[in-house]
């Protein structure tokens, strides 16, 4: 009996020791040097693994940061400037301040503005519908409404609005990772500069048809009339293919374009209510 115990102990010890020796040499042989800073950088990153930086995940981004000689082209949209400056501190590099961005779905073709002219009876998926035709309304540029952007958003920053027929971005939650921009088959979503209090002035339309056709399909379509372009003092608005576009980097939020837009396709959001201007105008004409 006791001899069995001894044999057991001896055998097991021998196996254990030899395994340890082998493991040691194998570990030496296949040792890979890894910059410890990669771990440090990864620690700081938000661990969202959203891919908004253009890399496969936070780890890949951290490796890219460590290997980079300058941080100019590297940006974590989720962490923003704060995170990037911390990363720069670890790596001894200079972080470039980048404007925070927010996604915006440039279509205001809600159910009452854009009459439905047919029913789609396929998979409820924007990309599938886009392969078949222009959509349930006569506007072939607008939101299809099946929520591919909603499906890809990892941050719950897009809400489907059954009452509107068009999804909306929740500004507070949006980290501008850009997943929805790629998911939208209509190229409706744009990453725009984030202004204080999430104020925005934006052309909520992508319709590139001629004015009449666009207007017939949707009452709030941009008809490319060019009034906003003339009104804008900052050259922020350009008209191309019957469609106005406001460059958010140049826009000063003066909101002049909003008032002149005949179809109300330019939208202002999160501003305090406007003062009633009628009286002032009367005074000025009285002078």
């Amino acid at each position: 009996m006791s001899i069995t115990i001894v044999y057991t102990i001896v055998t097991l010890s021998a196996i254990g020791t030899s395994a340890a020796v082998i493991l040691y040499f194998v570990a030496q042989k296949f040792k890979v040097y890894e910059d410890p800073r990669i771990d440090q950088v990864e620690e700081i990153l938000p661990a969202a693994n959203c891919g908004g930086c253009g890399y496969a995940g936070c780890r890949a981004f951290a490796e890219a940061c460590v290997n980079a000689t300058s941080l100019d082209d590297l940006n974590c949209p989720v962490g923003g400037n704060e995170t990037m400056s911390k990363v720069a501190e670890i790596l001894g590099l200079e972080a470039v301040k980048k404007d925070a961005k927010v996604a915006y779905i440039r279509c205001n073709g809600t159910c009452d503005q854009r009459p439905k002219t047919n029913t789609f009876d396929g998979v409820g998926n924007c990309a599938v519908a886009a392969l078949v035709y222009g959509g349930e309304s006569d506007c072939q540029w607008g939101c299809l409404g099946y929520g591919d952007c909603f499906d890809v958003c990892d941050f719950d920053a897009i809400e489907l609005r059954a009452d509107l027929g068009v999804p909306k971005v929740i500004d507070d939650k949006c980290v501008a990772c850009g997943a929805c921009v790629d998911a939208c088959p209509r190229d409706l979503i744009e990453l725009r500069k984030r202004f204080p209090k999430d104020r925005k002035v934006v052309v909520a339309c992508r319709n590139q048809d001629k004015g009449g056709v666009a207007r017939k399909a949707c009452s709030v379509a941009c008809i490319g009339c060019g009034k906003c372009e003339k009104e804008c003092k900052f050259d922020a608005i350009t008209i191309e293919n019957n469609l106005a576009f406001i460059d958010s980097d140049k826009c000063k939020l003066c909101r002049k374009c909003v008032s002149v837009c005949p179809t109300h396709s330019i939208i202002e959001e999160n501003f305090p209510p406007r003062k009633v201007k009628v009286e002032i105008e009367e005074c000025s004409t009285a002078k």
């Binding site: 396929g122 998979v123 599938v128 078949v132 035709y133 222009g134 072939q140 048809d209 001629k210």
Partner: protein
């Protein structure tokens, strides 16, 4: 034992309501809309401008590349505008609007019905004339015919297959054309053989058209080197690869051209168009279109000018039935549902099908029970259930590995699925994505 292709296939109810109806000529419309993109390949470039007066048969848009085709005016009149309008693709497409005034044809076009058998052109001249006439595959794929006739370097065709299969349910335009224009089609076939320098042609006809098989077997004897093969009725036998497999037993390699196995396939309608282009100098300005549907008062076959709105066809067939739920350009298996009757007839429109409301809605999809029917019916030997899941979950590398790009979008899988799953919807989506990935990889 009749010949057919080996892998997969389904047999949808044929519903050939307009079979045996003689081809009638549809009256000229008041105006036409001729899209500049009616074929696979680069859109054509308009060569007329607003206000120009054009004659029937006059070229109004020239091909925009090698894989492209000329477009000719199908009517005489004045160019109203060059603008976009919705077509069968479901999107606004650029095209030429012409207001019809009279019906004045170009002088060199022979409009008589007289049969002209003899020709003394060489192969290159024939191809040149086909290219000038803007002929594309009239079976529905609309691939420019002249491109098919010039095989890539190092490849040589040894057999021409004429597609008289018409495997899509409801459609009868090819069948009726075969019954009425047998000699013309055979002359067209001779012309194509000459252009391709092949010694042998086979006309494949499905066994549900015994009258056409009899007629062609009898007439083909006079022409020599043209055989007629009766094929077992099975969808999608009209698919190029399936037809080659059925007739010759050869399999076109994955991703390869049919000419890689020495075969070139052309539709009977295309043969007829080739005949008209070469013997009558008539470019492709009209085609045979079936208008059909269970509720349609008069299902018929019409000869229609390209650019005619399908509303005219519907009128001529007895008006839009009360409970129409879906309008399809093409057949029920591969056709495109359209949103408006303003959609024009184009080179690829083989039929217009009006479905009842009850037939228009799909049933709700339920869970896959892995019955493997989609696998057994897939003519390309794919696994649709797997490809659907991979596309849905966006696992595109595996989808590519499982040969998603081989899918010919015949719809047999969705047709047969007992759980009504939208297999092809997702596979088409995945195919698009994988195609994009492959293109970026090549760059």
């Amino acid at each position: 034992m009749l010949k057919t292709f080996k892998t997969g296939g389904v047999h949808p109810p044929e519903n050939k309501l307009s079979a045996g109806k003689f081809i009638e000529v549809l009256p000229l419309p008041a105006s036409v809309f001729i899209p500049v993109s009616q074929h696979i390949g680069a859109p054509s470039i308009p060569v007329v401008k607003r206000g120009d007066v054009v004659k029937t048969g006059q070229m109004i848009a020239k091909s925009g590349g090698f894989v492209s085709a000329n477009i000719h005016s199908s009517v005489s009149g004045k160019v109203k505008k060059i603008d976009s309008q919705i077509d069968a693709s479901g999107y606004m497409k650029q095209g030429i609007f012409i207001d019809v005034e009279g019906d004045e044809w170009l002088d060199e076009i022979d409009q008589s019905e007289e049969l002209m058998k003899e020709f003394d052109l060489n192969g290159e001249e024939i191809i040149k004339k086909i290219q000038d006439a803007g002929i594309v595959g009239l079976g529905g794929a609309t691939f420019p015919t002249h491109v098919k006739l010039i095989p890539p370097k190092g490849m040589k065709a040894d057999i021409l297959i004429i597609n008289g299969v018409e495997c899509e349910p409801y459609l009868t335009s090819d069948h009726q054309l075969m019954m009425e224009k047998v000699e013309e089609i055979l002359v067209g076939t001779r012309l194509l053989m000459k252009a391709l320098q092949v010694e042998r042609a086979v006309i494949g006809i499905e066994n549900n058209k015994p009258d056409a098989i009899r007629l062609f077997t009898e007439k083909a004897k006079e022409y020599g080197h043209i055989d007629v093969t009766a094929l077992k009725v099975k969808y999608p036998q009209g698919g190029e690869k399936q037809l080659i497999r059925a007739v010759t037993g050869r399999e076109v390699p994955s991703g390869g051209l049919p000419v890689a196995v020495g075969a070139v396939v052309s539709n009977v309608g295309t043969s007829f168009a080739v005949y008209e282009a070469i013997q009558k100098n008539k470019p492709l300005v009209e085609r045979i279109v079936t208008i059909t549907g269970k509720e349609v008062a008069k299902p018929s076959n019409f000869r229609v000018r390209i650019g005619t709105p399908i509303s005219m066809l519907v009128e001529a067939a007895g008006g839009l039935p009360e409970n129409t739920g879906k309008i399809i350009c093409g057949g029920p298996m591969m056709g495109k549902a359209v949103t408006s009757l303003e959609v024009p007839v184009t080179k690829g429109t083989s039929g217009v099908l009006l479905l009842k409301k009850q037939e228009s809605k799909r049933k709700n999809a339920i869970a896959c029970i892995r019955c493997s029917r989609c696998v057994s019916v897939c003519p390309m030997g794919l696994e649709p259930y797997l490809l659907m899941t991979l596309s849905e979950k966006q696992i595109f590398d595996q989808a590519e590995g499982n040969r998603i790009m081989d899918c010919i979008e015949c719809g047999s899988c969705s047709f047969t699925c007992p759980s009504d799953r939208p297999l092809l919807d997702y596979i088409r989506l995945g195919k698009g994505k994988v195609g994009q990935i492959i293109r970026t990889r090549k760059k």
